[in-house]
Amino acid sequence: MPDQVLFAIEVMLNGLMAGVMYALVALGFVLIFKASGIFNFAQGVMALFAALTLVGFQSGQIPFAHLINAIFGTRLHHFGFTMPTVLAILGTMAVMVLFAFLVERLVLKHLVNQPAIILFMATIGLAWFLEGLGDIMWGAEIKRLDVGLPMGMSGLIDEVTYNWFGYGFYIDRLDIVAAMVAAVLVVALTLFSQYTKQGRALRAVADDHQAALSVGISLRAIWVLVWSISGFVALVAGIMWGAKSGVQFSLSLIALKALPVLMLGGFTSIPGAIVGGLIIGVGEKLFEFTVGPMIGGATENWFAYMLALVFLVFRPQGLFGEKIIERV
């Protein structure tokens, strides 16, 4: 095979992998949107917060140390012990569930039956709150996240492809793990939302809060459940992205990479998140390679949105989104 083609294939493969990483973030959005019609602006910050908490637990940081020191003049920093990763992950999960519970209690409960834009706005408030809280709790400096995931070039693939084509493909092992995790998540979540009573209730809530209440669906239970699950998804995304870039503020900006994916796949579709991710991943990488050099590069950000835009013009509800019902 000619060099150019091989390279294009390599780029596409890497695009697919990048797409999976985007999809991991997008999944969290989809879940909450599906269950309440809320566009959760705080999803990115949730990923950051989860990752911060995980690292904090792992390294035995004292939460709010800085605040405590400032108030009491103490010099606390670490508990002096570290926590095994599994325990830390479980602990973080517990924190995310608690968070879900508090969000329902303090915010969503009071905003039942409000238009989507208002719930969206509440999540903006939430994002700010959580961002500040994360910083105060764990500090704003960069942290290394290591839960023992493999990273770096996959030697196996490199070798195999080298033997086949005389050109070794580069695939990041972390991306492979991410792809497997994403596949499991997508299958599990799809099954949950399509084939369980709770799943049906979830979609009902998104359509009409009041009607859902009137048939006895407890918005509370549904919301706590869904926010917990998306807290979990945020944690997974936080781990994957955090392993790449360390845990710090910019982690919350991965939400921006998830948006075009979300829109292309459809706000309400779990498989859409993954398919959208793959399309965006491949599309933007190929574009960056073929057209990018001619126009100065760094095109990925806007190209992802342009690509989503093109798809939306043909399918305004995204590839897998529920058809927008237009009737009078």
Binding site: E141, M151, L251, A298, E300
Partner: protein
């Protein structure tokens, strides 16, 4: 008292870099107060103002601090610097941008109130090339060098210099942009993997650094051929990549490690007395040292100003004079407890930029520390000054600025 504010950012996207710098800046001032009782008997006050690396908040901070008659500002943000250049010139307050900001501010004839000693971006680019020349026996022809840069004004700074130098030394330059913030660099590094450049030079900041180093490790790019600017060479940039970052190099505009006598003083007078701005565990890290170095240069300028004008309580205008007459010698550095920490240089009316010398440091992942591997390397001064002249004169005509120093 002498007011030397700190426009810091301890929150926002670049907090990780802003925190140690601000700590170093504050701690040095504290040291001066505690150990020497201030400068010339007057204590230094460092009001801090949080900018979150945001230009608007930078402006707010500047205005808020104006009433306190600050002697000099050090905003640690190119964006804020550009806001402040005309304002501060108008207000007659000097601005020190150490290793960032507007490079052509070197030209003191145009920029009366801006100082960017001891080195600037164009110097840095040239130093890297000179280092590589040295490594390659003075010949880079036929080599491939890739520049991976933050897709912003900051990241584009070295391109012109590197291009000029490419013409001169015969290497091939590829530039690869990374969009802010730089969390995703897969395609950039695939391209590097494919093109197999001999060297990769990086102009990054914040998360872009960590990701780039990780990605370089992933594609097994030889770390010793990967060189960052001084903003891409702190502990935080390499630690997240762990062992893989071993061998990564970067420019150093000042010494590294805790082996300077000054740190003992900081430990006794500042940290042990519970006066440290941070947790105290950052002392001696790269960005902390840089903050400290910036503070030290400010304090030396204060001394100079006091000397020139013969008053202890100097004004910002006097401070400017002090900065313009600043003279850093090796002996002075040694006296300050920082032997060979920074280059020796003299500021003049025409040249606000110092010598532009820098060293190269290399990361030792085992020991988790940066090691200096060269002595001071001088940039290609002629070329740089020519570029500076071009850019600053354009600014001067655009803004009807009368040239000074005649």
């Amino acid at each position: 008292d002498l007011v030397i504010p700190s426009l810091s950012y301890r929150t926002g996207p670049f907090a990780a870099g802003g925190i140690p710098f601000a700590d170093g800046y504050a701690d040095y001032m504290t040291l001066i107060n505690e150990r020497d009782g201030g400068v010339g008997g007057i204590r230094i006050r460092v009001p801090e103002c949080e900018t979150a690396y945001n230009t608007e908040r930078g402006v707010e901070c500047y205005e808020a601090l104006r009433g306190e008659n600050p002697l000099v500002h050090q905003p640690l943000s190119t964006g804020i610097t550009y806001q402040l250049i005309p304002r501060m010139t108008q207000d007659d307050v000097p601005l020190h941008t150490m290793g960032y900001g507007r490079t052509s501010a070197v030209n003191g004839r145009v920029f009366s109130h801006v100082f960017n000693y001891p080195a600037n971006y164009w110097d840095g680019a040239s130093v890297i090339i000179n280092y590589l020349l040295e490594e390659n026996g003075g010949d880079l022809s036929g080599k491939k060098i890739a520049l991976i840069y933050h897709n912003s004004a900051y990241g584009r700074e070295p391109i012109r210099t590197l291009e000029e130098l490419a013409a001169k030394h015969g290497y091939a330059l590829t530039t690869i942009a990374v969009d802010s913030p730089g969390q995703e660099q897969a395609s950039q590094w695939l391209q590097i993997r494919r093109e197999r450049p001999d060297y990769v030079v990086m102009w990054g900041w914040g998360v872009m650094n960590q990701v780039a180093i990780q990605e370089a490790a992933n594609i097994r790019f030889p770390m010793e051929n990967f060189i960052g600017v001084w903003w891409s060479g702190s502990e935080q940039d390499v630690i997240p990549a762990g062992q893989a970052a071993h061998g990564y190099k970067s420019l150093a505009m000042h010494g590294t490690g805790r082996d300077y006598p000054i740190y003992d003083d900081i430990q006794t007078y500042v940290v042990d007395r519970g006066l440290a701005a941070g947790a105290g565990d950052g002392v001696g890290t790269v960005l902390y040292s840089r903050g400290m170095y910036a503070a030290m240069l400010a304090v030396e300028a204060v001394k100079k100003a006091q000397e020139i004008h013969g008053v202890a309580q100097i004004t910002p205008a006097m401070m400017r004079d002090g900065m313009e007459a600043l003279e850093i010698t090796e002996e002075l550095m040694a006296d300050l407890g920082l032997p060979n920490f920074g280059p020796a240089f003299t500021v003049t009316c025409e040249n606000h930029g110092g010598t532009g010398e820098a060293m190269i440091q290399q990361w030792d992942a085992e020991a988790r520390q940066w090691n200096l591997i060269t002595d001071w390397i001088a940039p290609d001064r002629d070329l740089i000054m020519q570029l500076v002249e071009e850019d600053s004169m354009a600014y001067a005509t655009e803004n009807n600025i009368e040239l000074r120093c005649n």
